[in-house]
Symmetry: C2
Subunit: 494 residues, 2 copies
C-alpha cells in the first residue's frame, strides 16, 4: 500500500451530539463509536465491555482497592455461586433479592444438581456462613475483607451499558465488628472513601443520603448512599454502604467470645462500589458534545502522540516522536504513539471523541525547534512547549485537567437543590432537572404512604435525608400536614 | 489485657509435614493453616480463596497482564454467560465442553429464560460471534485481546483447591490474524510468555510439549502446553496455547477483505494461563516441610518486621520498627510490621509457615547499634546488616531468594527424563516419579490405540512431543513395533 495515500479509516471519528439536549442518544452513540461496549451480544442485559472502557475500569478498581487495602481491608475471592439454602436464611434479604436471582440446576448433557445454585446477586449469604466458622473470639475482630466480583441480577428495568445491566462489576466489602459503634464508624469511613475516590479521583461530585426505611438494603438496619446527577436531570445511586446491625449475625450465627468469655453477636457492615456503573456515570458527567472527556487519572492513555509529516520528513519526525514516547513511558505516563496510516486531522477527531486528556503534536517544525504542541481535551486548547521539561508540564497539565473537570461538574451541582412545599413546586423543580428539598413526616415506615403519593404524582423518589449537612425541619409534611420529622430530597432517578 | 502476658494466638504456627513423603497431606494442611483457601463452602469444587493466596494471585495476574499488554494485547470483559446456541456452532468444541457446562434456565421466583445460558467453560463461543461483527477488513487485523475471567466446569475428577476446581481463575487471550503463519508465531510467543512469567517470575520450571491429536483443544488444530512436575512425581499442565487454524473462523464466520478486496477466513489462536492453578503448582514446587516458600516477586508481604522487646524498651523498639517500616514502604517494598501481641518465636514460626521471603528482626540491641537482623526463609539463614543501605540489601536478597528457589526447582527437573523402551521400563520410570522418553509410532489419530495401551498398562499419559529440543526417532514404536515417527514423553499427571 502507498503510505502517502493517507486513507481515512472507515470508522467514524467526528462525534457531534448535544449531550444536554439529547442525553439518551448521546450515551448510546458514544458507547458505540468510542467502542466502550457492544450491545449486540444477544442476551438481554449482558454486554461485552471493550478495551477503552476496561482499561479505565481496571485503573478505577486499582484506586478503590488501594484505598480499601490502606484502610485495613484484605481481598478474598469467593465462588460465583451460592447454595439456595444459604440465600433463605435472612428473611428480608430473601424477599429483597430472590426475584432477581438466576438459578443453576442442570449441568452437562443431563446432570442435575442436588441443590440449586444462585449466581450471586450480592454476597452476604456466600460469605457470612464462612464468617460464622472463622470468627471465634474478640481477637478475630474486626474482620475487614473485600472482593472484586461480577454480580448478576435479572433486572426488570430496561438495561443500559454500564448504568444498569444484568451482570455488572463491583467491589463488595464485608466487615465484622465487636460493637455497633465500630460498625457505624465503618459506614462513615466508607462514605469518606466514596468522596476520596469517586469525587477526588474520578471527578464525580456526590450528595450523601441516609435512605428511608422502605428504601434500605434488604435485611440491614440503615443504608447510606451517594447520588450524583446525570445530564438528563435524573440522579443515579453510586456506592451505598449498609449498617447491618446484628441482623445477619443472628441469621448466620456469627458470634464471638468477648474478653470476659461471654458469647456475643457481632455487628456488620457492607459497602458496594459498582465500578461499571460509576464508569457510566463518570463518562456521562464529564463528556461533551464532541465525545468523552476522561480524567487524566483514569484515562487508558493519558497522552496521545500524533506525528505530522510528509514523506520527505517522516523519518526525522517519527524518530523524535519515538524518543518522546519512550521518555514519557519511562516516567510512568500512559502514552500511545498513534502511527496509524491516517491523516493528523482524523486522529485529532478520533482522540477527541475517545476523550484522551492530552495530545502531543509533533511535526518537522517541532523537531527543528526541539519543542512540541500540547493539546488539552477538556478546554480544547493548545500551546507550544519546550520538549525539555515536558514530563513535568504534562503532569501539571493532567492535574489541571482533572481540576477543571471536577469544577465544571460541581458547578452543575450548585443551585441544584430547590426548596419546595407542594406537589406543584416539586414537579416544577423536577421538570427543570433539579432536586426538591421538602419537609416530610417520617422516613420510618409510617412515612411510606406519603412517599408513595409523592412518587405517584411527581414521578420523583425520596432519596433520603442528608447526612453531610446539618438541617432540621421547622414545619409540616408536604403531603399529610403532620409535624415534619425530617427534611428529605426528592429527585427523578435511574 | 496485660500486654506482658504475650499469650500465643490459638492458631497453629508450627508446620511440620514431609512434602516429599506425604505430598497430599502437605498440600491439604498448608491450604488450611496458611489460610489460602477454605474447603468448607459446601458446594463441591467451589472454594473461597483467602487473602494470603488472593494477594499473591493478584500480583501474578498483574505480571501476566503487563506482559500481554506489552506484546500488543488489550483487555476486554465479556459476560459470564453464553447462549446455548453459540456453544453448538463448532462441532468438536461442543462435544469437548458440553459435558462440563453448568446451565441457567430459571430466574426469580418462577421466571424461565427463552434460551438456556451456559456459565462459560471457556470463551471462544462468547467472543467469536462478536469478532465476526468486528472484523471487516485486513485493517482490523491482527486483533489481539484478552480477558481475566472466572471459568466454570463441572469436573468429574476429584477437586482440590487451586489445582482443580469447578470454578477457577484465568486469563484467556483470543487473537485473530490474516495468515496462518502469524497465528503460528503467536502460539510461539505465548510459549515464550509462559517461560518469561511462569518460570522467570514465579520460578516454576516447565517443559513444553506439542500435544497429541487426541489430547488437543476441542475444535483446534494443534495444542502446545507447558507441564511442570509436582512433588508427588506427577506432572501438571500449566498454560496451554492453541493454533485454531481457520476452524472457528469458518464456524463463526470470521472473514475479512484482504488488500485485493477478496474475502478470506481469518486464523485464530487462544492462550489460557489459569492463575489459580499456577498458584497451586507454584506453592507445591517451592514449599518445604516447614510450610510455604513464596518468591519475593509475588509474596503478599515481601518483608515482615518482627519487633522484640520487654516492657521497658517497647517504645524505642517500636519507634525504630515503624521508621524502618515506613522507609521500606516508601521504597515500594511490600512490608508488614507484625505488632501482634504474641511472642517473637511464635511470629517466626508463623511467617515461616506462611512463606514470607524475608524477615527483619529488631530488638533493643539493633536499635542501639542502628542495625537489623535479616532472615531469609528459603535457606532459613539470618545475618545482621546495618540499617543504612537496608533497602538495597533487601532488594538484592529478594533477587537471591528467587534465584535460589528457581535453581532448586530446576535441579529437581534435571535427570527427570529417563529413556524407556518397554512397558516395564516405562513403569519403572513412572514409579520413581520420572518422565519416560520413548519412541512412538504416531501422535496423529493412528497412534491413539497405542497410547491407550500405554495408559492402561502404566497409568501414564503421553504428554506429547518436545518442541523446545531438537530430537528425531531412530527406532520402532514401544508398543506396536512399527517405525517410530515421534519421540514422546510419558508421565503420570493431574
Amino acid at each position: 500500500m502507498n503510505k502517502s495515500e493517507k486513507k481515512s479509516d472507515s470508522k467514524q471519528a467526528i462525534f457531534d451530539i448535544s449531550k444536554e439536549e439529547n442525553f439518551p442518544d448521546w450515551y448510546t452513540e458514544i458507547c458505540k463509536v468510542a467502542e466502550l461496549a457492544d450491545i449486540r451480544y444477544g442476551v438481554k442485559g449482558f454486554t461485552p465491555f471493550l478495551p477503552w472502557s476496561v482499561m479505565s475500569m481496571e485503573i478505577m478498581f486499582d484506586f478503590l482497592e488501594e484505598a480499601l487495602h490502606r484502610k485495613g481491608h484484605l481481598p478474598m475471592i469467593f465462588p460465583t455461586v451460592i447454595p439456595e439454602s444459604n440465600l433463605t436464611k435472612e428473611a428480608d434479604h430473601v424477599d429483597g433479592f430472590t426475584p432477581q436471582v438466576f438459578w443453576i440446576k442442570d449441568y452437562g448433557a443431563d446432570g442435575e444438581l442436588e441443590e440449586r445454585l444462585a449466581l450471586r446477586p450480592t454476597s452476604e449469604t456466600a460469605l457470612y456462613p464462612m464468617y460464622s466458622l472463622w470468627i471465634r473470639s474478640w481477637r478475630d475482630l474486626p474482620l475487614k475483607r473485600y472482593q472484586r466480583a461480577s454480580i448478576f441480577r435479572s433486572e426488570v428495568k430496561s438495561t443500559r451499558p454500564f448504568l444498569r445491566g444484568r451482570e455488572f462489576l463491583w467491589i463488595e466489602s464485608h466487615n465484622v465488628f465487636a460493637s455497633h459503634d465500630e460498625a457505624k464508624d465503618q459506614v462513615m469511613e466508607d462514605l469518606e472513601t466514596t468522596k476520596e475516590i469517586v469525587t477526588g479521583i474520578y471527578g464525580v461530585p456526590v450528595m450523601v443520603f441516609k435512605r428511608t426505611q422502605w428504601d434500605k438494603f434488604p435485611g440491614g438496619l440503615n443504608t447510606y448512599a451517594a447520588d450524583t446527577l446525570m445530564p438528563d436531570g435524573k440522579v443515579i445511586q453510586l456506592p451505598s454502604t449498609h449498617d447491618l446491625g446484628d441482623n445477619f449475625a443472628r441469621a448466620f450465627d456469627i458470634q464471638y467470645l468477648d474478653e470476659n468469655n461471654e458469647t456475643r453477636y457481632a455487628y456488620q457492615t457492607c459497602y458496594g462500589p459498582a465500578i461499571s456503573r460509576i464508569y457510566g456515570a463518570m463518562i456521562s458527567v464529564h463528556g461533551d458534545d464532541k465525545g468523552l472527556r476522561l480524567p487524566y487519572t483514569v484515562a487508558p492513555y493519558q497522552v496521545i502522540i500524533v506525528p505530522i509529516y510528509k514523506s520527505k520528513n517522516e523519518a526525522e519526525v517519527m524518530e523524535f516522536a519515538r524518543k518522546i514516547e519512550s521518555e514519557l513511558h519511562e516516567a510512568g505516563i500512559r502514552v500511545y504513539l498513534d502511527a496509524r496510516d491516517t491523516t493528523p486531522g482524523w486522529k485529532y477527531n478520533f482522540w477527541e471523541m475517545k476523550g484522551a486528556p492530552i495530545r502531543v503534536h509533533i511535526g518537522p517544525r517541532e523537531v527543528r525547534d526541539d519543542k512540541v504542541m500540547l493539546f488539552r481535551r477538556d478546554l480544547m486548547k493548545r500551546e507550544p512547549v519546550s520538549s525539555t521539561g515536558l514530563i513535568e508540564e504534562i503532569k501539571q497539565l493532567g492535574e489541571a485537567i482533572d481540576k477543571t473537570l471536577l469544577e465544571q461538574a460541581e458547578s452543575k451541582f450548585e443551585g441544584l437543590v430547590v426548596d419546595a412545599d407542594s406537589i406543584g413546586t416539586i414537579i416544577d423543580a423536577l421538570d427543570k432537572g433539579k432536586i426538591a428539598r421538602v419537609e416530610f413526616c417520617s422516613t420510618d415506615m409510617d412515612g411510606y404512604d406519603c412517599a408513595g403519593r409523592i412518587e405517584e404524582r411527581t414521578s420523583g423518589e425520596i432519596r433520603g435525608t442528608r447526612i453531610d449537612t446539618d438541617e432540621s425541619p421547622q414545619g409540616v409534611c408536604v403531603i399529610c400536614g403532620k409535624v415534619a420529622k425530617e427534611i428529605v430530597y426528592i429527585a427523578r432517578s435511574y
